[in-house]
């Protein structure tokens, strides 16, 4: 992951639909070989952005560069795999035929596509189903068929729009393993999600957007470091004692997210965590956990996007992007 040229660069990309701007002068770049997360609340413009990357929609302004060359996603379609947010297959077609047809759309020769499809079906336990019609398959099996269609042509760049939505745990694992295997072989992965836990586990780098605008971009570690430092996690074992008063002390605690047995605190700059520990013990609280930590991605996300993310039509919200430039990936 030392490639100096980013695989994908978006520069001031804008898309307007009747009445509103879905994507507003968005710029970010995806380093080659990275697993990159495009994060944002529902309606942030993630799918629209992905569709512009893939040439399904044309931007109203700005440019998309892929593989360091001009020409959009369709030109490079043989090197790109795409799993759309809303899944679907030809219901009356046979499993093998669907996969072969979609591979042909990616420029794979017919016979090679058949062989690879058979391999993949074998690997995911669908070999016996290859001559069945799609509508005879369970939803989980259909999802597997769709993964196969996404990656059969061994793309260098895999774009997954909300890949984990609606997956059962087994398929979730299959998809994660497949994605990680692809990344291990050197493929670049771009995926969108609004579920931060998954992003935190998978991403090397990410971009958070809300209402079509970028809020933060960079390597996951850098972002955490920049926004972290004074983040404290406390677990209570039974009695919380007089902890509530201490947590409410605005001289040391800036924000608190209290779950009763568990709390996440953001300290006021300069406040001493050790002092808080002493005060908690003195107050009679029994502690199971006291941990100084980088903030979770979820916390960063909520801090950035803020409560007004849910309020349509509000101003640009939160602070301007942190670390605008394409932070090189370590």
């Amino acid at each position: 992951m030392t490639s100096p040229t980013p695989l994908l660069v978006l520069d001031q990309v804008t898309k307007r639909f009747a009445g509103h701007t879905a994507v507003d002068a968005l710029s970010f770049s995806v380093p080659a070989g990275a697993i990159y997360g495009l994060l944002g609340p529902n309606g942030a413009g993630k799918s629209t952005t992905i569709r512009m990357i893939l040439d399904i929609l044309a931007p109203d302004a700005g440019t998309v560069r892929l593989f360091g060359t001009p020409g959009g996603g369709r030109t490079h379609s043989a090197r790109i795999g795409y799993l759309p947010e809303e899944r679907g297959l030809y219901r009356k077609m046979r499993v093998l035929d669907v996969i072969v047809f979609l591979a042909e759309m990616k420029g794979v020769e017919r016979r090679a596509a058949r062989a690879k499809a058979t391999d993949w079906l074998e690997r995911l336990g669908l070999a016996d189903w290859r001559l069945r019609r799609i509508d005879e398959l369970s939803k989980g099996m259909q999802q597997k068929v769709q993964f196969i269609a996404t990656v059969l042509h061994e793309p260098e760049f895999v774009v997954l729009d909300e890949p984990f939505a609606g997956l059962d745990p087994v398929n979730l694992q299959v998809l994660k393993d497949t994605v990680l295997a692809l990344a291990h072989r050197g493929a670049t992965i771009l995926f969108s999600t609004h579920i931060m836990e998954q992003a935190e586990k998978l991403c090397d780098a990410l971009c958070i957007i809300a209402r079509g605008r970028k809020l933060v971009e960079g390597a996951l570690g850098d972002i955490k470091r920049r926004r972290g430092g004074q983040h404290l996690i406390i677990g209570f074992d039974g009695s919380a004692g007089g902890a509530a008063d201490i947590l409410a002390d605005r001289r040391v605690v800036a924000t608190v997210d209290n779950y009763g047995h568990y709390a996440e605190l953001e300290l006021v700059p300069g406040a001493d965590p050790q002092q808080i520990l002493q005060r908690l013990v003195a107050s009679g609280a029994r502690l199971s956990r006291f941990e100084l930590q980088a903030p979770s991605l979820n916390k960063i996300f909520i801090d950035l996007v803020g409560p007004d993310a849910a309020r349509p039509g509000a101003g640009a919200g939160a602070e301007a992007a942190v670390g605008t430039g394409a932070t090189a990936h370590a």
Partner: protein, 417 residues
Amino acid sequence: MRKIWAVVRREFVERIRSKWFWVMALLGPVFFTLLFVLPTLLAGGGGLKRIAVVDGTTTALGARIAELLDATPAFRAVRLPAGGRVIDSLTAEVTAKRLDGFLIVTDAAVDSGKAEYRGASVSDFGAKNVLEHTIGDVVNAARLERAGVDPRVVARARMAVRLETHKVGGGTTAGDTAEQSFSLAYFMGFILYTSILIYGINVMSSVLEEKTTRIVEVLVSSIRPFQLLLGKVLGVGTVSIFQFAIWGVSARLLFAQRARLFGGAGLTGAQVFQVPHVSAATALVFLAYFLGGFFLYAAMFAAVGAMSSSEQEARQAQQPVMWLLVISFVSMFAMLNDPGSRFAVTLSLIPFSAPIAMPVRWAAGSLPVSEIWLSLAILVAAIGAVTWVAGRIYRVGILMTGKRPNLRELLRWVQTA
């Protein structure tokens, strides 16, 4: 190019794999034959009517009419002398369906040409024709005889004329009779109408399937929307040509076996089919206009599919397109009466009706070749224009969800580059 080919093959293979295709392919000729034979069968076979002739004449006129009617294949007739209650009891018989109807003849038939028929059904034109002819013949003879003409002269004078009609085309007299031309024109019009409609709607449902399942997103990230549309239309078009080939072969087989197949129904082969002569030129005109019509309507149906987001919506949105086709089909009957009328010429030049109108006119009567070229040129230009508009609607529509666009929004879709 290879991708378009893959789309063509998918449409073709998936369609001919469906049961429906084979049902249509194998039963189509049977269905079309029935369509033509059924009226004959119903008029001829079901037409044996039991009637009574209520004879109120003072001469042998009523008896003569009853006798002649009884000799026709359409009627079994019994003469009853007129009397007080006869009409009432016959009416009761008809109501009870023991009798199909009764004819009342009096001396007024000869004097003023009046006779009356009362029956359960009075809409059977064939039967009415036979009645009128028979009564007319007998009454005419009676009138002549009353005027003192020798009955043998009357008999000779009544010898019927059989008019043979032949189509004149391209300076030569073809062997086709008027009936053959008519049935060929009607047949071609009917097949063109149903095929363009069926395969147009096939294109529409294919577009709709890809839109509703969202596969279209994956597809247009690899192939241009217009190429996808092109492949789809070509694929479905190939299926239709394949279908015609099967129909051609099976129609030939069916025709060869016609005597055996319909002999049982009491009809001879000649009665069943006025077999028209299908020349190479006619086949060519048919194919050219079928393809033209199919491309024109397929483009429109594709646009309808792209702007709808469910089967129900599509069924509504397809109405205007269907009406264009239905109007062309219905006006076929007026055109058959006078294929050279200004109405017929106009319809065969308008691109939306030309695919049905022109082949019908071609089959029904002669027409200048220059008119065909002119109408084909207009049709091709229209296909170009309609496809351009439809392609733009398609490109935007396939990615849209939510409510169907109104006309203004459609216009904007067409305008977006």
